[in-house]
Symmetry: C2
Subunit: 186 residues, 2 copies
Amino acid sequence: MKFCSNCALPISVKIPADDSRERFVCEACGIVHYQNPRNVVGSIPVFGKQVLLCRRAIEPRLGYWTLPAGFLELGESTSAGAARETLEEAGVEVQIGQLYSVLNVPQAQQVHFFYLARMTTPDFSAGEESLEVALFNENEIPWDDIAFPTVQYTLEWFFADRASGAFNTGLDAQVHCRDLLPKKQV
Amino acid sequence: MKFCSNCALPISVKIPADDSRERFVCEACGIVHYQNPRNVVGSIPVFGKQVLLCRRAIEPRLGYWTLPAGFLELGESTSAGAARETLEEAGVEVQIGQLYSVLNVPQAQQVHFFYLARMTTPDFSAGEESLEVALFNENEIPWDDIAFPTVQYTLEWFFADRASGAFNTGLDAQVHCRDLLPKKQV
């Protein structure tokens, strides 16, 4: 940030009087331009025993496999965002279920949310940000080519919970939380 | 947003070619200035049977009672942010526990997170954003003067879970999720 988005004059980096952190401050009009982490929202689309993954058509991690996910938009809830991203990237109108994982990626200034989601038909189509989309049985998951650690953790939790019967109790499954340290980032 | 923070020229509001939503776009330097919801992170500080609340010294809802909470900062995890806000607003170094509630407030462009938190001593002090801080038994909670619906829901869930024994199972309690509709906002 170089210029004030309100008055176009140059921005200073300083700690405001009532603050303890450096901020982008406009000394001309007085506005503090706060910056905050962003939310990435996605789903775990399930059809029978299979999980839907998308192969990324964009950077970062072009060519690697991911759960459908993207940035939460203004005016949108996290579950609505997860459904929208699933439709945009995989061409699937899922039935969104419970919040399943919340992962902090502070070095990327992001928080990732994944929701359980049910596909009512095995139909899908690659959106503009996907090279291809496919359903995978657990033993077919391309573990060596998963785009992001948050997706890998979420898939690992999902298959472990399914194996332990956690989804068959009639209750919500545990919401899995994890903070990712920089060394775990690809 | 009126001017580009990168080049200081006037901003346009338009739908970029590869997008479906209106964005702030600089047609001079080509940058799209995305805007995204922000995360508010807080805690439910518990000392014995009592819960700590802060009376707000700032708008919005000046004079009303809240759980300690504030905006997540860059480079920070949601749990670390909840601990920081509790220290800043209530002068308490809590032991942060499990994620307890996630509430979407899309009309305010916010997602709220509250963590269970344990106070090891009954010591606290009002920070700059608090008029006063106090410990409350359940029958003393100022329900008519709670600052935000997300705080009210979280407190209601907490006391209901405590009454039902949900915290005595040795397992994590359910993470409570809710989307707040505009009419529920104060």
